[in-house]
């Protein structure tokens, strides 16, 4: 049910304020729904029509249960389409509805203007419904179990994508092999100078490099391929319907990837704007307490866990403040006097301009890298935690700025997923698939790895291998073939 009357009036009012501040976004359509529907939509990631899959049912049960127990409720949901759809919960107070609409303005603006969303399909509502129709069709034709099993296998691989693929061309244009020189050309030189101008070891080196390059060209894939799903879609021996299902899973994974890449910023930006719009314009005196309670619930820190809403919000505030005061750049960085830095004020007034720029060009990794300062980390009491095996507990490991920043960046890199490439699709000349995990200090979860490889095997049809590192054991290859799983230590 689309909203009407007072709420529609409020929407107009709030959006006008947002536009005055410089936010920009297309039409937002609000639907008023009850909690069951909101849980249902949340289970479907906001899209009313998804293909049939049990994991949506599982998520729905979880949400319904935690709603029933009062553990958790969803206030707001926005989907990145044009027009933008957002849902309001029927049982909310009017002040909550206002807050949610102000919050949604932030998300809507972020979807529209952040660079990382520029490649997302804004007609995804239709696209997802099409996916649903196609998969239902396959279920009718090939049987529920067959389609479901294949879908399960694909979904289990859906984090093996190249998050930058939408914006970057990875594959070099095809070069005809014959154009490439087969041997190294010597530079012309007189005999007595030859060994100086063309040192034999250099020549040998060049020759070897050339040969390696030639060998590389014969390899398949030529370059390591990070978009594992695409690689499988193109080269795995699949039936047409399977190829299509894999494509659907891949397309949806890419659609949702930017949201995972910008969680901190996106939420921070929305909180930043709902605070400003509500406190400066929309709040009635009688609503202050309800508003305060809801707002603090959103940015609260629970038992030491980092809250992306809070972190993003505070960072945006910090950036605004620093650029208002001119507290950045070499002169400021070089200043060691604590009091001087604290009271630094060049009356620059560029805060708002800066935050708008930041929301346009950064994702979470860049955001943290560029704007998480030592002062900020100290002021907000950030720390790293690690698992203590003896105590079976997580404990605070460090409060050093570099540690905190490094850990945070690590968690955000590649949207928190391990980096994995397809290196060889004809491993050992047997058509087996060889993947490499770029190990950066943290091991993979072994039971999950083995289960996932078995799914990868189901798709590829030939044995699959993954090279990684296991603590205390060194480099290890995990394999899965027709006889099950195996591991080899290299």
């Amino acid at each position: 049910m689309l909203i009407t009357g007072e709420l529609a009036e409020l929407q107009r009012e709030i959006e006008e304020i947002a536009f005055d501040y410089g936010l920009s976004f297309p039409e937002v359509r609000y639907e008023m729904v009850d909690y069951q529907t909101v849980n249902l939509l949340a289970a479907y990631d906001g899209f009313p029509i998804r293909y049939p899959h049990w994991r949506f049912g599982m998520e729905y049960e979880r949400l319904s249960k935690s709603y029933a127990y009062g553990l958790h409720r969803i206030y707001e949901m926005v989907i990145n389409t044009i027009p933008i759809y957002a849902y309001l919960l029927q049982s909310n107070l009017m002040v909550d509805q206002k807050l949610v609409m102000a919050h949604v303005c932030g998300h809507a603006d972020f979807f529209t203007n952040n660079y990382w969303f520029s490649h997302t399909d804004r007609k995804m509502l239709d696209e997802v419904a099409n996916h649903s129709a196609r998969i239902r069709n396959y279920i009718d034709r090939f049987g529920h179990e067959r389609v479901e099993n294949f879908l399960d296998a694909c979904l289990s691989l859906d984090n093996l994508i190249d998050i930058h693929a939408a914006g970057v061309r990875r594959r070099a244009p095809h070069v005809d092999e014959d154009d490439e020189p087969k041997t190294i050309k010597k530079i012309q030189a007189k005999d007595y100078m030859d060994s100086y101008i063309n040192p034999p070891e250099f020549l040998a080196n060049q020759q070897r490099r050339l040969e390696n390059e030639q060998a590389q060209l014969k390899k398949f894939p030529v370059e390591p391929e990070r978009d594992v799903l695409l690689f499988l879609q193109e080269y795995a021996p699949l039936e047409n319907w399977q190829r299509d299902v894999l494509g659907i899973v891949r397309e949806e994974a890419y659609y949702f990837a930017p949201q995972r890449q910008t969680k901190i910023m996106n939420e921070g930006w929305a909180v930043f704007w709902h605070t400003r719009i509500m406190t400066n314009h929309m709040l009635q005196p009688g609503e202050i307490i309800d508003y305060a309670e809801h707002h603090s619930g959103t940015v609260a820190v629970h038992s030491g866990r980092l809250n992306p809403y809070r972190l993003g919000y505070e960072l945006f505030l910090d950036i605004e403040d620093r650029w208002n005061r001119g507290a950045f750049g070499p002169e400021y960085e070089d200043c060691q006097d604590h009091n001087l830095r604290k009271n630094w004020d060049k009356k620059l007034g560029k805060g708002l301009e800066k935050v708008f720029e930041v929301r346009r060009i950064y994702n979470d990794v860049g955001f943290i890298d560029a704007f998480l300062t030592e002062e900020f980390a100290r002021e907000h009491k950030l720390f790293t935690f690690e698992y203590n095996e003896h105590a079976n507990e997580y404990e605070i490991a460090s409060r050093a700025f570099q540690d905190v920043k490094q850990k945070l960046l690590f968690q955000l890199t590649n949207f928190g997923q391990p980096i994995i490439d397809v290196v060889d699709a004809n491993y050992d000349n047997r058509g087996e698939l060889y993947l490499v995990h770029h190990h950066e200090g943290i091991d993979l979860d072994r039971p999950y790895l083995e289960a996932t490889l078995s799914n990868l095997f189901a798709v590829w049809g030939r044995p699959v291998h993954l090279e990684t590192v296991v603590k205390d054991k060194g480099e290890i290859i995990f394999s899965h073939g027709p006889d099950g799983s195996a591991t080899w230590i290299i």
């Binding site: 049912g57 866990r305 980092l306 972190l311 935690f385 391990p418 039971p447």
Partner: protein
Amino acid sequence: MNYSTAHRIDQDAKRFRQIVHGHVRQNLRKYISNGELIGRQGKDLVSIPIPQIELPHIRFGGKQMGGVGQGDGDVGDPLGPGDQDGSLGAGDQPGAHLLEVEMSLEELAEILGEELALPRIEPKGKKNVEGGKVRYTGIRRVGPESLRSFKRTYRAALKRQMTAGLYNPDRPVVIPIRDDVRYRSWNVYPQPQNSAVIFYMMDVSGSMTRHKKELVRLTAFWIDTWLRHNYKSLTVRYIVHDAAAKEVDQHTFYHLRESGGTKISSAYQLCARLVDEEYDPAEWNMYAFHFSDGENFGGQDDRLCQEMLEERLLPHMNLFGYGQVPGGYGRMFMETIAQIEDEKLVGAKINDRDGIFDAIKVFLGKGL
């Protein structure tokens, strides 16, 4: 939201339940033997811990990962139990990894029945004895004001006014008269009543250790679950014995430990007396299960037991099960049981937790 979306999520949820069922069925032997389910039991529900029903992904091992947090505390201070997954989820992800699925005891019994290929029990007794459940589902024209149904009254009044041409859409006033008033009323839903009683008897002499009692407890839980599924009402009586027998409550049954000798006949005698005094064999489905480690005091008592079984217990019983847990010395009581030829008598050895599964199959496999 429209009907079809709700319908779709129901389909997905149903499929998920099916998968859970399949998972429980596949791992039933494990669930039976490790006793995880007992104690997670609510009134009608058991909460079943099911790990990893989610889709596997290649991901980082949780424990090594650690993470970044915010708040007070010194280096080395604990953050709380190790269930944080180091991810950046705030309110949107619960910390728990282990998914807990709730399942009704009824559903669990069905799975048990399917997996062990247990036949449906054909109850004896007066099948026609009918009790009834009263539910307020009906509508009548008379009744107390407290049960007046506003909706139905309004509907009747509206209908009357429309047929009489008194209804004006521009001024939609509906005034019910006496004839329009409707009241909610009850209907009686007949239910066939089959009652059953289970007698659990256990040797609590010195040789029955805590571990052995645990085997008995697990076995009894599953027998209960199955019989409850088959009978509308189930009574359970507990008898413990060493050299003498007495009736106790459930808690005592599993926790009491006596020392001293073992006279199995004492328990059988008590059981037979309870049957004679309180349960009419024509109306009751009776089950008895006796657990011991097989030691009994002398051959004379064995003979007495045999006599008791053949003459006083078995004729009334639907089933008499004897479960022998390990550890006894000397002549085993199981040998006595084996001498009696009666299809209502079954014996099973429960050597360890894995044996429970098979024992249940033996006990309940006859469908008696």
